[in-house]
Amino acid sequence: MWQAMYQELGSHGFVPITVALDKDPEDARPYIERASPTHPSLIDTQHVVAELYHVINVPTMIWIDEQGRIVRPHDSQFGTDTFTAFHGKHSAPYLDALRAWVREGKGVLDPAAVRSHQIQPTPETQLARAHRALAWWLHQQGRVEAAERHFLRAGELAPKDWTIRRGSMPIRGINPMGLEFFELAKEGVPLYPMEELPVEGGTSRKTS
């Protein structure tokens, strides 16, 4: 559906860039091919973007303005209502807020507000990422038991980071929709500080 937003708003200087935190392009392929996007649809097997933008779960949205500045930092938002029953968020207000941003420049946070709503990396979260990178490399080498140790260590160091704790499940041979995930979910979904800034919905409604 981001392709639809791109078609609607592209002429207003908008570009969606999707980034799949998947272990293999083939895992993202079904989603991308179904969408037939003409906007960048990228694969991030090494979790580069997760580290650069301190992403702790998916989906996560970030707004970047024309000068390449973050004007709305990491935020848990959805483009569809497929899972609204689980997370309670509706996509329509968010998509309208996007329209208001693109068409009217509305909804951006001032620099102080962006900073105060960014999660700060810590020595633990950074060490977690190093263990995840090590685990990934070991797995690529076929050293699966050693990889498992480091995936687990990464999860211990960053318990609130589901890009590690859930994101590593497929490569570890664990169903990310199964019992282990159900247990993980009992700890509570990781939240961004942006939760306290509900999306206004904007005044810019979809026009055909």
Partner: protein, 139 residues
């Protein structure tokens, strides 16, 4: 009893194979090996990479006749080191200080990633547009 082993040092997307001396918990590499693998070397001014030098509080803990201690090397830069001596591999990460500082500038960190066809795309190529970064996954 120190043994000389082949050791892999991972830094970002680069994995370098180098010769290291492993002695219990300690992994040491010769200064020229470290310089070749990372660009860093210990000088009187401190730990230096090109023109950048970091003062070192305890140079003796960092390096001696046996070589440069990898753990002390990472600590001197404030960088995380995921070390697995049994597997002869370590991954050097980015310090929290550096990540925080970059985020605080509010400049969207640039990156280049491939699409399904293997074509690389760079974020900064879209300067001049409003970009929505959508991070998702099959999980």
């Amino acid at each position: 009893m120190a043994t000389s082993e082949l050791f892999t040092l991972i830094d970002g997307d680069r994995a370098t194979s180098l010769r290291a001396s492993i002695d219990g918990d300690a992994v040491r590499v010769a200064p020229d090996v470290l310089r070749g693998a990372t660009g860093w070397e210990l000088k009187p001014e401190g730990l230096c990479q090109g023109d950048l030098c970091i003062p070192v509080r305890d140079p003796a803990a960092l390096a001696d006749a046996r070589g440069v201690d990898l753990v002390a090397f990472a600590r001197a830069q404030g960088r995380p080191l995921a070390l697995d001596i049994a597997e002869h591999v370590a991954a050097l990460g980015t310090s929290a200080a550096e990540r925080s500082a970059r985020l605080a500038t509010l400049e969207a960190p640039d990156f280049s990633l491939p699409d399904l066809h293997g074509r690389m795309h760079t974020l900064s190529a879209h300067r001049g547009k409003k970009a929505l970064l959508i991070v998702y996954a099959s999980w």
